[in-house]
Amino acid sequence: MSRLQASFETLKSANKTALIPYITAGDPHPSVTVNLMHDMVQAGASILELGIPFSDPMAEGPVIQLACERALKHNVSLTDVLGMVKEFRSKDNDTPIVLMGYTNPVEVMGYEKFAKAAASSGVDGLILVDLPPEEGADLISALNVNKIDMIFLLAPTSTDERMQLICDQASGFVYYVSLKGVTGSANLDVASVVKKVEQIRGHTSIPVGVGFGIRDAESAAQVASVADAVVVGSALVNRIAENADNPEEMSKQVCALLSSMREAMDK
C-alpha cells in the first residue's frame, strides 16, 4: 500500500480528515525547509505538500509568487527539492509527500528521469497546476511505473464530463480548487464547496481534498466536514515571510496555525 493510501486509511479509521500544509521548498532559505517539514508533522500535518519553485507561477496569488522568488534567489532547483525530500525521509518514512509545481521544470528534467529520481527520494505524489490530463499521458505512465500518484485538480468550472475524465486518470486523491481565482484568494464559499465535493464523489471513490482560500481554524473545520483532506498554503507562507529572519519563530507561528486547524477539524 502506498504512503498516501495508508495515511488516508489510518485517518478514516480514526474518523479524521487529512490536514495538508503547503510550503515552497527553499523559502526563505533551503536550510529551513526540512526542519520545518518535521515540525509541521509534529503540529498535526497528515501529508506534506512541497512546492517546486518556478519563475512563472501563473496560478499563484502574490503570497506564493513571492515565496517562489525567495527560493529562486537561492537557485533552488527541482533536484534540490528532491534532495530535501530524501533528507526528510531519513527521519520520517511514513508521512506522504506530494510535490506541487508547474510543468516546465519536470519537462526539462525529463519525465522518466524525474519519475525515477522522485521515487528513489521518497516522493508519493505530484501535482502540476498547468498539466491537465489531456496533456499528461506520457508523464502519467512514467509516474505509474515508479508508483507515484498523479494528483489532478478539479475546479468550480469543471463540468461533469471533465470530472469523469479527470477522476478516471487520478490516483492518490483529487484536489478540488475551491474558488475561481489564484491561491490565497479570500472568497471561499463553503456552501458551494459542499455541493461540488458531493458532485465529485459521484465520479470517484478516491479521497477528495479541498484547497485555495482556507486560511484559519474556522474555514479548515468547515471544509473538513465534507472533504477528506484540507490544504492550507498562503496562510502558512505568510507566516514564513513575516518571520523570514527567525527560523525558530517561523516554525512556532506555522505550527501554531496548523495545531489550531487540527484542533478545530477534530472537534
Binding site: 502574490p62 509568487q65 522568488e69 516546465n104
Partner: protein, 405 residues
C-alpha cells in the same frame, strides 16, 4: 528533425491544438472549460458569414485596410540587391498590425456576451489596440503591463488611459511582458464569468495560436494579391520580426504552400545570441512549457524561465508561438538573430532613405532584410513586414543616443 506532420503546412493545429509536438492546452483546470467554450465559439464564427462580414468591414473602414505594399525603391537601389517591398502595417489605425487581431477578438467577445476585456502588453501596441476596441464596443478594459515596460513606453500608457483603459503595472518577476501575461492569466482565472482575455500574439493555450493567426493572415493574403499585381509573380523571400510571432505568421501563413517562397523570422538578439542578453528562443533556446503551450523558450537547465533582453519591448519575450516552433523544426521557415545595434542602425537607414519611421520591433526585420537583399540579384523580390510605426520608440532611441527631448 523532419517530422511527418510537416507534409501539410495547413494541417495544423490538430484537433487537440497541437502543432507537431508544440502547442496544446497547458493551463490550470479552472481555465480548461473556458478555453473549450472559446474554442467552440471561435469554430462557430469562423464559418459565420455575418461575423466574417463584420470583421472584413471593420478591417476596411476602421483599420484602413488593405495596407499598401510599398516598393522601397531608393533603399533597394542603395543596397544594390533584391527589390524590397514593405507591407505597411504601420499605416493601420493605432499604428501596428496588432489591431487586426483585437478587432477579431473584440467582435468574438461581444458575440460571447462578455462585458470586460483584459490584455497583456509589452511595447504597448497590443494594449492600445485592445483599449481601442474596448472603447469602441463600450466594454471595460484592463491592460497588464510590466513595470519596466510602463517606464519604457510612457506614450502608449497614456494613450491607453485616454482610451478609458485601466493600466495595471506588474511588479512580479522580471516586470516585463511575460509577467504581464502571468498577471492577465491570474485575472482571467478570477473573473472568467464576465471576462474575455485578448491575447496579443500567436501563443497561449489552444485555440489562441490558431485564432490569432487566422485574424492576422489578412496581412499575407493582401501581400500575395498585391505582389502579383505589382510584380506579376510571387516573392522570393518574406521577412518579419518574431516576438510571439503574430505579424510573422500573418505574413507567412498564406505563402506556406508556395515552396519557392523562403521565410525568415527575425528574433531580437539583444547584445548577441552568444551573450546571455537576448530574446531569441528559436535561435538559441530549447523546448519547454510556458503560458499554456509547448514551444521554444529561454530557460535555464532547471527549467526556470530566464530574463530576456531586447531594445524593443515587443520582442522582449522568452517564448514564441508554437506554430513557429513547428515551422522551425520542419525547416519551412528560418529563424535568424538581429542585435539591438543592427536594429537601431536599420531604424535610422529606413527613416532617412524612405521617410518612414519604423517601430523598433520592425527594425529587426528591416536589418535582416537588408542583409539578405545584398546577397540576392536585383531581379529578386523580398517582402518585409513593416509591422508597426516608430513614434512610440522615439523616447527610447533619444535616450540610447544621449539626446534630451
Amino acid at each position: 528533425m523532419k517530422e511527418d506532420t510537416c507534409n501539410d503546412y495547413y494541417s495544423m493545429p490538430d484537433e487537440r491544438g497541437h502543432f507537431g509536438v508544440y502547442g496544446g492546452k497547458f493551463v490550470a483546470e479552472t481555465l480548461m472549460e473556458p478555453i473549450e467554450e472559446l474554442r467552440q465559439a471561435y469554430e462557430k464564427v469562423k464559418t459565420d458569414e455575418q461575423f466574417q462580414a463584420a470583421f472584413d468591414k471593420d478591417l476596411a473602414d476602421y483599420v484602413g485596410r488593405p495596407s499598401p505594399l510599398y516598393h522601397a525603391q531608393r533603399w533597394s537601389d542603395e543596397l544594390g540587391g533584391a527589390q524590397i517591398y514593405l507591407k505597411r502595417e504601420d499605416l493601420n489605425h493605432t499604428g501596428a498590425h496588432k489591431i487586426n487581431n483585437t478587432i477579431g477578438q473584440g467582435l468574438l467577445a461581444k458575440y460571447m456576451g462578455k462585458k470586460r476585456i483584459i490584455a497583456e502588453t509589452g511595447a504597448g501596441q497590443h494594449g492600445v489596440a485592445s483599449a481601442t476596441v474596448a472603447a469602441r464596443l463600450g466594454m471595460e478594459c484592463v491592460v497588464y503591463m510590466g513595470e519596466e515596460d510602463v517606464k519604457r513606453q510612457a506614450p502608449n500608457v497614456y494613450r491607453m488611459k485616454l482610451l478609458g483603459a485601466k493600466v495595471v503595472p506588474v511588479t512580479s518577476g522580471s516586470r516585463t511582458l511575460k509577467d504581464a501575461l502571468n498577471e492577465a492569466m491570474r485575472d482571467w482565472v478570477t473573473n472568467i464569468d464576465n471576462t474575455f482575455y485578448i491575447i496579443g500574439t500567436v501563443a497561449g493555450p489552444h485555440p489562441y495560436p490558431a485564432m490569432v493567426r487566422d485574424f492576422q493572415t489578412v496581412i499575407g493574403r493582401e501581400a500575395k494579391r498585391q505582389i502579383l499585381e505589382k510584380a506579376g509573380r510571387l516573392p522570393d523571400a518574406l521577412v518579419a520580426c518574431v516576438g510571439g510571432g503574430s505579424n510573422a505568421i500573418g505574413l507567412f501563413h498564406p505563402f506556406l504552400g508556395d515552396e519557392d517562397v523562403k521565410m525568415y523570422g527575425v528574433e531580437g538578439a539583444g547584445d548577441g545570441i552568444d551573450t546571455p542578453n537576448h530574446a531569441a528562443p528559436l535561435c538559441a533556446g530549447s523546448p519547454g512549457v510556458l503560458h499554456g503551450n509547448r514551444t521554444y523558450l529561454m530557460e535555464d537547465d532547471n527549467g526556470q524561465i530566464i530574463e530576456t533582453h531586447c531594445v524593443s519591448a515587443g520582442l522582449d519575450y522568452p517564448g514564441v508561438g508554437p506554430e513557429h516552433a513547428w515551422l522551425k523544426d520542419c525547416g519551412r521557415a528560418s529563424y535568424v538573430p538581429i542585435t539591438d545595434k543592427e536594429a537601431l542602425a536599420a531604424f535610422h537607414v529606413l527613416t532617412l532613405t524612405e521617410g518612414i519611421i519604423p517601430a523598433l520591433e520592425s527594425s529587426h526585420a528591416l536589418a535582416y532584410g537588408a542583409k539578405l537583399a545584398k546577397t540576392m540579384d536585383k531581379d529578386k523580390i523580398i517582402i518585409i513586414n513593416l509591422s508597426g510605426r516608430g513614434d512610440k520608440d522615439i523616447n527610447t532611441i533619444a535616450e540610447i543616443e544621449g539626446i534630451e527631448l
